[in-house]
C-alpha cells in the first residue's frame, strides 16, 4: 500500500483548530470561574458567555478504544471538543448548559471518575515504570492505581485545605514531577551496581560514565578499559547505568520506593519548594503496595487534620516545623533523612530554637 507523502518540520496542528467556538470568541476574555462540584466548573467571559468543564480521571495509559469512547462522548455532549490537562485528566468542554447534567449522568453510569477540581487530590503525575522503561525500579502505573483507588474520595468530593499534588517516578531520573510535589513516591535502588566489565569495555564511553556519577564514585580503570566503583561513595542513583547499560543497578530484592513531601511549584503565598524525604524506603509489594498506600493516606490525613485553610502540605510543614511533622505522622527519623549530598549545609538546623 502506498504511503502518503511525508512532510517534515511542520510541528503540531495549530491549537485554534481545536478550540470550541465559545473559547475562540472569548479567547483571553475570561472573567471568573465557579466550581460546581468536585469535577465540574464553569468559566464565565466578559461577554457573559460560559464554558462548562467536566473533568474525569484518566490512567494516562489509554487504549485507542478508550480514546474513541471519549471522542464519542465529546461528540454527543460537547460538539466534539475536549482537552487533556497538564496532569493527564480528560476535560469535556461543554458549551451548552443543557448538556452538562446529561454528560455527568452518562459518565457516572459508565463509571468514569469525575473530580480533581478545587481543593482536592487530582491525578498523579507519573511515568513509564515496568510498562515501558528500562530504568524503572518500580511500576509507576500500578502504584498510581493503588494509591488513587484508596484516595478516590479525595478526588471526587472530599475537600482538603488546598490542592494536594501527588507524583510517582519509577527511578531517580524523576520523569514525573516528584521533586516539587506535595506528596510523591520515587523508586530507589539500595545496592551498588554490578559491573559486566567485558561489556563495559565494548559498549561504554569511559569519560561519560565517570562523569555521570553525582558522587564521583566511579574511577576509570584504564588498564582494563573499564571502570571501578568506590562502594563507599555510591548512593545507587543508577545514572551510570543510564549511560552504560552493562553496569546493572537492578536488584529486585532490595529495590523499592521512598516517599517525599512538601514540594510545590506555584508562587502563591510562599516560594516554590522542593519535596523533602519523609520515608526513605518501602519494599516493592506489587500488585498494590499496601504499605505505601497506607503511608500516603497517613500523611494526607495528618495534613487534612492540622493544616490551615489554603495551606499546602509544604507550607503546613514549614509552619509547624519538620520535627513536628515527624511526631504528628509518627514517621521514624533515620540517618537517611539527614542530607549528606551537596547541600547538607543548608538543611542542618543552625538555631537553638526547635520543638521536641
Amino acid at each position: 500500500m502506498a504511503l502518503p507523502q511525508r512532510q517534515t518540520d511542520i510541528g503540531p496542528p495549530k491549537f485554534d483548530k481545536f478550540l470550541p467556538p465559545v473559547i475562540k470568541e472569548n479567547y483571553g476574555q475570561w472573567k471568573y470561574h465557579e466550581e460546581l462540584s468536585g469535577g465540574t466548573m464553569v468559566h464565565v467571559a466578559e461577554s457573559g458567555a460560559k464554558i462548562w468543564t467536566v473533568r474525569c480521571a484518566s490512567p494516562r495509559l489509554l487504549s485507542t478504544e478508550t480514546i474513541r469512547e471519549i471522542s464519542d462522548l465529546a461528540d454527543e455532549f460537547c460538539g466534539g471538543y475536549l482537552r487533556f490537562t497538564t496532569r493527564h485528566n480528560v476535560e469535556f468542554l461543554v458549551s451548552d448548559e443543557s448538556r452538562l447534567q446529561p454528560l455527568v449522568d452518562k459518565l457516572t453510569t459508565m463509571k468514569y471518575m469525575i473530580g480533581g477540581i478545587g481543593d482536592r487530590v487530582s491525578n498523579i503525575v507519573h511515568t513509564q515504570g515496568w510498562v515501558h522503561c528500562h530504568s524503572a525500579c518500580t511500576d509507576a502505573s500500578g502504584l498510581v492505581k493503588a494509591i488513587m483507588d484508596d484516595l478516590a474520595d479525595y478526588f471526587t468530593h472530599k475537600v482538603l485545605p488546598n490542592k494536594v499534588r501527588l507524583a510517582v517516578a519509577c527511578c531517580v531520573n524523576m520523569c514525573g514531577a516528584v521533586h516539587c510535589s506535595d506528596i510523591a513516591v520515587v523508586a530507589v535502588h539500595r545496592k551498588v551496581p554490578k559491573i559486566d566489565h567485558a561489556n563495559v569495555t565494548k559498549m561504554c564511553e569511559i569519560p561519560t560514565t565517570v562523569g555521570s556519577c553525582p558522587t564521583s564514585a566511579i574511577r576509570p580503570n584504564p588498564k582494563d578499559k573499564t571502570i571501578t566503583i568506590n562502594e563507599e561513595k555510591c548512593m545507587y542513583c543508577g545514572n551510570c547505568f543510564t549511560v552504560c547499560p552493562p553496569i546493572d543497578i537492578h536488584d529486585p530484592e532490595e529495590d523499592g520506593v521512598a516517599i517525599v513531601v512538601g514540594g510545590k511549584v506555584g508562587s502563591l503565598r510562599t516560594d516554590p519548594k522542593f519535596s523533602k524525604l519523609a520515608i526513605p524506603f518501602f519494599y516493592n509489594e506489587p500488585p498494590r503496595w499496601p504499605k505505601v498506600v497506607d503511608a500516603i493516606r497517613n500523611i494526607l490525613e495528618t495534613y487534612e487534620k492540622h493544616a490551615k485553610k489554603h495551606e499546602r502540605v509544604g507550607e503546613w510543614v514549614e509552619r509547624i516545623g519538620w520535627e513536628r511533622f515527624f511526631s504528628l505522622t509518627g514517621i521514624e527519623f533515620t540517618f537517611q533523612h539527614i542530607d549528606d549530598f551537596t547541600f547538607m549545609r543548608d538543611t542542618m538546623r543552625t538555631s537553638a530554637a526547635f520543638k521536641y
Binding site: Q7, T8, G11, A57, T64, G129, N173, P245
Partner: protein
C-alpha cells in the same frame, strides 16, 4: 480479550474505582498481539519485581534524530511480541486541545501500525504512542505527517514545549500561553528534530505565577505570565465574598505574604508597589480581584530533575518582558540563552548545571541582561567575589 497469559497479579489492578491501566492494556489486545506480550511481560515484572526492558538503541525516521524511543525486551524469546516495543512521540497541540475527529485520526493510524496503547500525554507534553517496531516507523511518520501531525522530540534536542490552558479558559492568563507555545514549537522545529545540543532543553509556559504546568520546576526555560501595574479590585464582589461567609481577614489578608493587602471589614486595599504578584488573593477571590493590565512574562532558567547535581528550580533571569505576537523579543532572548548554553556546556550538561559552574555574570553579559536584585532571593554571603579589569577601571 487477553488470553495468551495468565495475569493474576495484574488482574488485582482492575479492581477499585480509579480507571485501570490494566483494563486499558487488555482492551488493546483486541488491536494487536503486541499488547498480549506487553501484558505477559508486565505480569512477570510484577511477579519478580523487576523490569525486562533493555536500553534503547537508536531508532528513528529518515532525516530526524529524535522523536522515537527505541525499546527492546530483554526476554524476546519469552515475549516475542515486545521484542521491539518503541514509543513514538508526537508534538501535541498547545494546551492539549483536541476534537473528536483529530483523536480518531490519531487512533486510526496507531491501530494500523502500533500496539493500540498510548500515553495521553507524556510528562514533557508529547502525545505518546506506545509500542511499535522499527520497520513500521517510516510508515507511521508518513501517515501522521501527511495529516498535519509531526514527531515530538527526544535525545539532546529542544523538547516539545508545553503550556497551561491559559487564555483558552483561564481568567488569570497574563500572556497567550497557547499562541506562544505554538510559535516556539514551530520556531524550533529543526532543533527539535535534529538533536545537536549538549543535552535536552525544555520550555514550559504558564500564564501566571500559579504555574499550572509546573514550568518553574520542569523546564530549562520557564516562561511565566505576570503584570506590572495594580491589581484590579471590584469592591462589590469583595462584599459578596464576605456575605457568602468568607473570612477575608484570615484567608486573604493574613495570608498575603507581603502584608500589602489590607481588609477593613468592608473594602480591600492593596499597596501595589509592595505586592509580589504571588496570585494568592486573586486565586482565592477570583470574582473580586484580577491581575493588572500591563502584562508580560518573567523568564526563568534552569530547572530539572535531580541527576546529576541535585534537582533545581528555575532562576529568574529577566523579571519582565513583553510577550505579544509575533513574540519577537522573547524568541530572540531564548535564542541567545540557548546559544550561550550550546557554546559552553559539556555533553549531558543542562543549562542549570552549567550556570552553576560558570556563574551568572558571563551568562548575563552574553545575553545582554543587566544584574538586577529580582534575580536573587538574597545577595551572596561570603565576600569571595570577582572583579574584571573593566570593573577596576571605573573608579
Amino acid at each position: 480479550m487477553s488470553g495468551k497469559y495468565k495475569t493474576p497479579m495484574l488482574d488485582e489492578l482492575e479492581k477499585g474505582p480509579f480507571p485501570s491501566f490494566i483494563t486499558e492494556m487488555k482492551k488493546a489486545t483486541k488491536i494487536s498481539t503486541t499488547a498480549e506480550d506487553a501484558l505477559g511481560q508486565l505480569e512477570k515484572s510484577y511477579q519478580t519485581k523487576r523490569g525486562y526492558w533493555k536500553h534503547g538503541g537508536i531508532v528513528g525516521v529518515l532525516g530526524y534524530g529524535g522523536g522515537v524511543i527505541g525499546r527492546y525486551s530483554s526476554l524476546p524469546d519469552e515475549f516475542p511480541g515486545v521484542a521491539h516495543y518503541h514509543t513514538v512521540r508526537i508534538n501535541q497541540p498547545s494546551g492539549f486541545f483536541y476534537t473528536s475527529a483529530a483523536l480518531r485520526e490519531i487512533c486510526d493510524i496507531w491501530d494500523k501500525y502500533g500496539s493500540g496503547m498510548t500515553n495521553m500525554h507524556g510528562s514533557t507534553g508529547d502525545l505518546v504512542l506506545l509500542g511499535t517496531t522499527t520497520d513500521k516507523l517510516e510508515a507511521i511518520f508518513a501517515e501522521y505527517s501527511s495529516r498535519g501531525w509531526d514527531l515530538g522530540s527526544s535525545g539532546s534536542a529542544m523538547r516539545t514545549p508545553s503550556c497551561c490552558v491559559g487564555p483558552g479558559r483561564c481568567e488569570w492568563a497574563c500572556i497567550d500561553t497557547l499562541g506562544l507555545t505554538y510559535h516556539l514549537t514551530q520556531h524550533f522545529q529543526d532543533e527539535m528534530h535534529r538533536p545537536a545540543y549538549p543535552y535536552k532543553f525544555k520550555i514550559k509556559t504558564a500564564g501566571c505565577a500559579v504555574d499550572c504546568v509546573a514550568a518553574i520546576a520542569r523546564a530549562d526555560l520557564s516562561i511565566i505570565g505576570t503584570w506590572k501595574d495594580d491589581i484590579q479590585v471590584d469592591q462589590a464582589e469583595v462584599k459578596a465574598y464576605a456575605d457568602m461567609g468568607m473570612n477575608i481577614q484570615a484567608e486573604i489578608a493574613e495570608m498575603c505574604p507581603t502584608e500589602c493587602l489590607k481588609y477593613d471589614g468592608g473594602k480591600i486595599t492593596i499597596d501595589n508597589k509592595e505586592c509580589t504578584r504571588c496570585m494568592h488573593c486573586i486565586a482565592k477571590m477570583t470574582k473580586a480581584l484580577r491581575p493588572g493590565k500591563e502584562r508580560g512574562a518573567t523568564i526563568l532558567v534552569g530547572s530539572k530533575a535531580p541527576i546529576v547535581v541535585g534537582s533545581l528550580l528555575s532562576w529568574v533571569i529577566v523579571p519582565f518582558i513583553k510577550a505579544e505576537e509575533p513574540f519577537e523579543e522573547v524568541t530572540e532572548l531564548i535564542e541567545n540563552i540557548i546559544e550561550w548554553w550550546d557554546d559552553n556546556a559539556k555533553p549531558r550538561e543542562r543549562i542549570g548545571e552549567l550556570l552553576e559552574v560558570k556563574g551568572m555574570r558571563p551568562f548575563l553579559e552574553a545575553i545582554n541582561v543587566p544584574p538586577q536584585p529580582q534575580q536573587v532571593r538574597e545577595p551572596r554571603k561570603d565576600p569571595f567575589f570577582f572583579w574584571t579589569a573593566a570593573d577596576l577601571e571605573k573608579k
